[in-house]
């Protein structure tokens, strides 16, 4: 009877395991295998040992793209998520018009990244862009510039366009906050805790699993960033806005599939490490 049950469980999970192997394990294995090859994607592969990995050392575009990806990830953790959290806490007080603001903040998440990127491309336009027009309107002509064309502003401008689209995480956090027992707040209020103390010592600790999930999701999203850099800057100027996904794509369309797959392995490793760090940080604080 016990064996029969085990067999049933095994058969139930078997399709999922097979799909997992076909769509995850096999592609990762293929990436790893081809990362040791010289391959143009068309002809046969030839084993080149660690040469693709050695190439990473001198590839300054890889260094730049890795650094940018990490910075974007850090911006997600330290700006994007806290902003979402702040809005979630404020709206959870059901301030007047909270439903309207919730919809407004969430709405950009329903629009494709491509469309948003196109819109921001025009906002940042050096000659006719809305941002420069707004600066002129308030007498700050001196700050006008080609936002996506200058080295000093291109990457911050690229990140900034995305930073405030926090709707999805805001909604997740609001759902978490709604599950917190109201009597805890009431007890704290009776004990004389003010609004900031209640949020700091009740909401945030109880929201920790939600924040951890949000941080993980935000980081994995930033690792996959492709559309916005592709549409808005194509990695320029001078690779200043290059991110890992775009660098991989560039190598791929240059028929350097072996090296592109090496970069993909590095992206997976970088992602794994970032996720590990996040888990360690949250585990440590939970202890």
């Amino acid at each position: 009877m016990k064996n029969k049950k085990k067999l049933g469980v095994f058969l139930f999970i078997l399709p999922a395991v097979i799909v997992f192997f076909i769509y995850f394990v096999y592609p990762i294995g293929f990436l790893l295998y081809t990362s040791f090859m010289a391959w143009d994607g068309v002809g046969s592969m030839s084993f080149t040992g660690l040469s693709n990995y050695e190439r990473l050392i001198d590839d300054h575009v890889f260094h730049k793209s890795l650094m940018n990806t990490l910075i974007w990830g850090a911006a997600a953790v330290f700006i994007h998520i806290p902003l979402a959290l702040l809005l979630a806490i404020i709206l959870s007080y059901k301030v007047p018009g909270w439903k309207f603001f919730r919809t407004v903040f969430f709405f950009p998440n329903l629009i494709s990244t491509l469309a948003l990127s196109m819109m921001w491309l025009f906002i940042y336009n050096g000659q006719f862009g809305l941002l420069n027009a707004a600066l002129e309107l308030i007498g700050l002509e001196g700050l006008q510039r080609n936002w996506l064309g200058e080295i000093s502003t291109a990457f911050p401008a690229l990140i900034a366009h995305w930073l405030f689209y926090v709707g999805i995480f805001m909604v997740i956090f609001m759902a978490f906050i709604a599950t917190i027992d109201k009597s805890i707040y009431e007890a704290a209020e009776i004990d004389g805790a003010n609004i900031f103390q209640r949020e700091l010592f009740i909401t945030l600790p109880l929201l920790k699993p939600g924040i951890a999930a949000g941080v993980l999701l935000a980081i994995t999203n930033t690792l996959k960033n492709f559309e916005a850099p592709f549409v808005m800057t194509n990695g320029g100027p001078v690779n200043e806005t290059m991110v890992m996904a775009l660098h991989i794509y560039r190598q791929m369309v240059n028929f350097n599939y072996g090296y592109a797959n090496t970069l993909a392995i590095m992206l997976i490793l970088a992602g794994g490490m970032m996720i590990l760090v996040v888990q360690l940080v949250f585990r440590e604080k939970n202890a």
């Binding site: 399709p15 050096g126 100027p237 794509y249 791929m252 369309v253 028929f255």
Partner: protein, 428 residues
């Protein structure tokens, strides 16, 4: 019981393997009663100047082959994305039934040697091959086979706004680069951007200008030189200077934006192909198109190039996917033949100014040929020599490196020496 489970598992795995092995061949082996569907990858869609005529040609073919074959346009409006799609299709074995690609010798060998394209050699014997020049057909040659036919040619003039020139006191299009920069100064004094260019996307117009500049320095065969040769270095110095006369937001500026500078008369010159003529009429109207002149390469003081030389030659070559079903392959070839038919090439020229590579059509006096197109043709006929631009002459690696390298040059992040070195490093 155990045996039943094992048998069940084996059956399940067999079903998955069978399902996964159903590749595209399953799709191509249509029965004779079914209509074959052929995909045609193109960027001639939407507002593109050639889109309407191409759609009409496809519709006519479909009507003629109704019930047997139907060509479906799979459009990608952005040319660069189309080229990327085509390249990746080779690796992913999803080559379209009919497509064209921007010819360069390195990419061409990859396409032709992939064993995934139709061998067009036997199909050229029935007279189709006579539609093309021998030189044009060489672009599709791989070993002893013809794997692609020349599809679209180009002649790239430097368009200029005659009214803006006149207002700045410039009588004619500059014959030397010194005259060019002198004219540029006059235009700037009049509040006009001299040359509309940008480094966004593939830095299209900028790479054309660089090709023009280096050819004026080193002559017709400059692509035989190494990319860090003194001629390219000198060309980089001139290109660096050119950015002083370009839009202030030229770095990262995409084609559509800098083209707008010209069409909106904020800029006086732009270098681009004849396909832009339809844009002059559609966006600027007849009044604007009447002001547009077509100039050619200025000479470089002490250079080996001759004034009037032009960037020209085969730009796109047309090919298609190799099929196991000969009937489907026949229809794909039939469409290629129809598309490159001299009458259709002429239609495309008259409708959009595009120079299709079918050598045997003539323009008569009663044809409604546009004035700018005819000017371009006359420049082509009078040109002392023709040469290719960077994207057609060099590998994809060089073409993809160019926008980054030229942005750095424009921003003063690298010297001309470092610029040429950056390109030479990725040159195969």
């Amino acid at each position: 019981m155990k045996n039943i489970v094992i048998a069940g598992l084996m059956l399940f795995l067999l079903l998955i393997v069978t399902a996964c092995s159903q590749g595209d061949e399953g799709e191509t082996e249509a029965s004779q009663e079914e209509e074959y569907e052929l995909t045609f990858h193109t960027h001639y869609v939407g507002n593109e100047g050639r889109a309407e005529t191409i759609q009409a040609i496809v519709d006519e073919f479909n009507e003629e082959h109704e019930g047997r074959a139907r060509v479906v346009i799979d459009g990608t409006p952005d040319p660069q994305t189309l080229y990327d799609r085509n390249r990746t299709s080779l690796a992913t074995d999803t080559v379209p039934d009919i497509f064209y690609f921007q010819h360069n010798p390195v990419d061409a060998d990859r396409y032709y040697g992939s064993d995934k394209l139709i061998d067009l050699t036997p199909h050229l014997d029935d007279g189709w091959g006579d539609s093309f020049s021998e030189e044009g057909l060489e672009h599709g040659r791989y070993e002893d086979k013809i794997m692609a036919v020349p599809f679209e040619s180009m002649m790239v003039p430097i368009y200029y706004n005659t009214e803006l020139f006149a207002e700045a006191g410039i009588d004619e299009f500059p014959k030397t680069w010194d005259d060019f920069f002198e004219a540029s100064e006059k235009l700037m004094d009049n509040g006009i951007i001299p040359i509309a260019t940008g480094t966004g996307e593939n830095a299209w117009s900028t790479q054309l200008m660089y090709s023009y500049i280096v050819s004026s320095i080193a002559g017709a065969d400059f692509w035989e030189l190494d990319l860090d040769d003194e001629a390219f270095l000198e060309g980089a110095r001139v290109l660096e200077k050119l950015f002083e006369y370009s839009p202030s937001d030229a770095v990262g500026l995409p084609y559509s934006s800098y083209a707008s500078y010209f069409v909106n008369e904020n800029a006086a010159m732009i270098v681009n192909g004849p396909w832009m003529i339809s844009q002059f009429y559609e966006q600027g109207g007849d009044e604007f198109a009447d002001k547009v002149g077509a100039g050619t390469m200025p000479a470089y003081d002490g250079g080996e190039g001759e004034q009037g030389a032009v960037i020209a030659g085969v730009n796109f070559v047309l090919t298609g996917k190799q099929h196991t079903d000969p009937a489907k392959e026949e229809y794909a070839v039939a469409f290629m033949k129809y598309l490159t038919d001299p009458d259709n090439a002429k239609r495309l020229f008259l409708d959009s100014g595009a120079l299709m590579e079918a050598a045997s059509f003539e323009i008569n006096e009663d044809d409604d040929a546009d004035r700018i197109s005819m000017d371009i043709l006359s420049h082509l006929q009078e040109a002392p020599y023709e040469f290719k631009h960077l994207i057609n002459a060099k590998s994809t690696e060089v073409a993809n490196e160019f926008p980054s390298a030229v942005s750095a040059l424009a921003l003063g992040e690298v010297t001309p020496e470092e610029f040429v070195e950056q390109l030479a490093n990725v040159d195969e």
